[in-house]
């Protein structure tokens, strides 16, 4: 049942023949998990909250940075440094107090993926990296949950629905994680701020269509939008059973490796071990872009963004014991791979998981 106030809030839905009271009740009785509260996550969260989805999960481990504000429209300057899940929940609760919000500040990990996905009806992938996209896809396949996928690159966006009614999965389209050397990072490619708004809104629309069972979801279709010329195209994705079963280890899922699989293994140290042996490193190199946060005063002896490494590698003394870090430990792994392969560097250690897991309060 809907309360009188809910009737008023959803009145424009209720008068639509294809939604009406029964559709609105389906929305109210549904649960949707949005993974990633960034550029795509913000519009998805706003529209699904406003539409009256009964339970919304928000999974993201990041805090709000100034560089987010150009496109992540749930946040403002007062949100800087705060957990995205907390800021988003507060804003969305104001937008629709009838929604039950559940927040997951650890984000999605290989340890919690199965339980997290199993607790919701529909999963929305709003993440920004391939490792997490494959992890989400595989967890959705194992738990038989529909996955609404969105991804962006500069001025172009992709939307699709995977694993709906026995349809294809993301692995039917792209079976394996790409070679990290062949992909660019969001921080150094850039994106027009409006694009995640457009693609995220497409994703929210797909979620509502699936819940109410109206229209034709993008099940088995890859929809591609170009913001520069406004062209939209849909491509049919065939279901490729062997690609799914050869790659998703259904038994022993937690043993899967969702890190980039093509990189040469490098010496790694996690944050805890690093804090214990910090003084043994004679150089600490930050390979993030200049505008990336958090900046920990006194930690890095030099900042050399990945894009400058090929000209500034000489600033790294090859004879010194060196730690290299970035946000999540992927770019730093690529930097080490590059320095070892091209310039025969040794004595390089990667900060596993990146600076994201650094206990910032320790530095205060």
């Amino acid at each position: 049942m809907l309360s009188p106030e809910e009737h008023e809030i959803y009145s424009r839905h209720l008068i639509l023949e294809k939604i009406g009271l029964s559709g609105q009740l389906k929305l109210k009785n549904s649960s949707v998990l949005i993974i990633g509260a960034g550029g795509l996550g913000c519009p998805v969260l706003q529209y699904l909250s406003a539409a009256g989805v009964g339970t919304i999960g928000i999974a993201d481990h990041d805090t709000v940075e100034k560089t987010n504000l150009q496109r992540q429209v749930l946040f403002g300057h007062s949100s800087l440094g705060k957990l995205k899940v907390d800021v988003a929940k507060k804003r969305l609760k104001d937008l629709n107090p009838f929604v039950n919000f559940k927040t997951f500040a650890d984000g999605i990990t290989i340890g919690n993926a199965i339980d997290l996905v199993s607790a919701f009806d529909i999963i929305v992938d709003c993440t920004d990296n391939f490792e997490t996209r494959y992890l989400i896809n595989d967890a959705c396949f194992i738990q038989n949950k529909p996955l609404v996928y969105g991804a962006i690159h500069k001025f172009e966006g992709q939307v699709s629905v995977f694993n709906l009614n026995n349809g294809p999965t993301y692995r039917c389209l792209y079976p394996d994680l790409p070679d990290p050397k062949s992909v660019s990072n969001c921080a150094d490619t850039g994106v027009i701020g409006i694009l995640p708004g457009i693609i995220g809104t497409f994703q929210a629309n797909e979620v509502i269509k699936i819940i109410i069972k109206i229209g034709t979801p993008l099940n088995g279709k890859l929809h591609v939008f170009n913001a520069l010329n406004n062209q939209s195209n849909s491509y049919t994705i065939p279901k490729v059973e062997h690609e799914i079963y050869e790659r998703i280890k259904i038994n022993g899922f937690d043993q899967n490796d969702y890190q980039f699989q093509c990189l040469t293994p490098v010496l790694e140290i996690d944050v805890e071990a690093f804090l214990e042996s910090k003084n043994s490193f004679e150089q600490i190199i930050d390979v993030r872009e200049y505008n990336e946060y958090p900046i920990i005063e006194g930690l890095a002896s030099n900042v050399i963004p990945m894009g400058e490494l090929h000209v500034r590698f000489g600033e790294i003394d090859p004879d010194k014991n060196t730690l290299i870090f970035c946000k999540r430990g992927i770019r730093s792994q690529m930097a080490i791979d590059f320095l070892k392969e091209q310039y025969n560097y040794k004595n390089l250690t990667n900060l596993k998981g990146g600076i994201t897991f650094y206990p910032f309060e320790q530095e205060k």
């Binding site: 709003c126 500069k154 995640p196």
Partner: protein, 79 residues
């Protein structure tokens, strides 16, 4: 037969163009499109992508096929 090929994402970045005209002769038999494009643009060998012909994913252009459009579709990661 001249066919417009659309390049998306990082393929468009690497090739520095968003589309290109290619000429195919399918009267003589099938064409392996991956081989065809990677011979002309060797940088594609380093990129993960799918090929779509007339909006259907395939690597092979069957003989005697009328083609309206080809697209090279790499995955996007951003969010």
């Amino acid at each position: 037969m001249k066919v417009e090929t659309h390049y998306y994402g990082m393929i468009s970045d690497r090739l520095e163009r968003s589309s290109e005209l290619h000429t195919f002769e399918t009267e003589g038999g099938t064409v392996n499109l991956r081989d065809y494009f990677e011979t002309r643009h060797p940088e594609l060998k380093e990129i993960n992508y799918k090929i779509a012909v007339n909006h259907e994913i395939t690597d092979i252009l069957p003989a005697n096929t009328e083609i309206n459009e080809i697209a090279l579709l790499p995955p996007f990661a951003g969010g």
